[in-house]
Assembly symmetry: C2
Homo-oligomer: 237 residues x 2
């Protein structure tokens, strides 16, 4: 067993998806502009994404029953359409736009990085996205997951402990042998509180090149990597 | 759209696993004989497997709470150990033997067949096996699933309709666009009752070469194929 300062090596790498694996900002902007070229795609993407946490809170508070992210995305989209001049989209166009989240592109390092990491670890998603969304995304983008785990499996969204601990339970390992890989310190902090290892990955352009994100290291994380290739280097893959 | 006598083509192919994708009989026999060469591996495999349906019925009747297949396998194994002279196995050996179900080999046509079918369909599991078991099996055997779906996701075992209809719900398609692929007519009949398409695959040696299985066609199935390569031929993959 590895007895480095990092402790026992992780067996399971669980990846946050939106922002960490795929570039939602440019993908959403691209899709809305394909439908309506006059829309400010960057602003629309930010607005849609910013409705995500409040919508999940409505579910977790019990105000809404259990709801798949596809359906939350649609609720938020319906609320935004008029503001962005999308009120004349047909129902078919609205449905198509709503599944733009299934068609996001990965960051350039992701496919090669996951292939390397997969050689020595189980690589799985741990996303609030629903299973069908994540499976469609993976098929299109050729993301080589060993397994797709989702809030839908655990009937709870991150940062509920049931999600992080659920990964360990599914694979029958101690939480300390699972590493959450994410570009969001709050997600990692919640995983750490459940005993998981954590790896922060820098995605400075998550909110668009015009809105660079603070990617400063947090010393509490087990690892800090510029991208998935650097993480693979650190983990000896 | 295809308007052949077979109706609309399936979008999602959901595969039964034990017996359909992997050869549990020879795999279990091999693993127990590796531990105790004197054991009748074939008889042991049949006995362990024959405890599976009754154990699931105890869960579905409410006698047992929701239980992962790994844990049902262990319950059955504990009950069989003395009969097969395994009562002196250590706890570590019992655990190792119990995970033999994670290390089953696919039938020879499976990996190539799934790769072909995957090019034009979403290929997923629909097994009563738990997610971790199926993910470990897929990683070892290089089964290229787009998604691992399990009784564990739906909190119900096949033949509960929640499982078959759950596949359609996960992918947001009509049940008629999902095809269950299985080597068991009862599984296929239950799927058909939920509106799924069905494909029977012949696995005459499922119970061992010494116990050939009736693989006669049932006209109610959408397809009948000798193996996954023949199914790929039929589906134009």
């Amino acid at each position: 067993m590895d007895t480095t300062p990092f402790g026992l090596p992780p067996q399971i790498l669980a990846f946050d998806v939106f922002g960490t694996v795929v570039d939602w900002h440019s993908g959403i902007a691209r899709e809305v502009q394909a439908l309506r070229p006059a829309v400010d795609g960057a602003a629309f993407a930010l607005a849609w994404r910013s409705g995500y946490q409040p919508a999940m809170r409505r579910v977790m508070s019990g105000e809404l029953g259990w709801t798949l992210i596809d359906d939350l995305h649609r609720l938020i989209l319906d609320g935004l359409a008029a503001r962005f001049g999308l009120q004349d989209l047909t129902e078919a166009e609205m449905r198509q736009l709503n599944t733009a989240w299934h068609r996001l592109d990965p960051w350039p390092d992701v496919v090669e990085g996951l292939a390397r990491l997969k050689a020595r670890h189980v690589v799985c998603t741990l996303s609030n996205g629903n299973i069908g969304l994540l499976a469609n995304m993976a098929k299109r983008a050729r993301l080589p997951w060993d397994c797709i785990l989702s809030a839908e499996v655990f009937r709870a969204y991150k940062p509920d402990p049931a999600t992080y601990l659920g990964v360990a339970r599914v694979f029958g390992v101690d939480p300390g042998r699972v590493m959450l890989v994410a570009a969001h310190q709050d997600d990692l902090a919640a995983a750490r509180a459940c005993g998981l290892q954590t790896a922060y990955v820098e995605r400075p352009a998550e909110f668009g090149a015009a809105n660079p994100k603070d990617v400063s290291p947090c010393p509490a994380n087990t690892r800090h990597a510029g991208d998935f290739l650097a993480l693979a280097d650190q983990l000896g893959c």
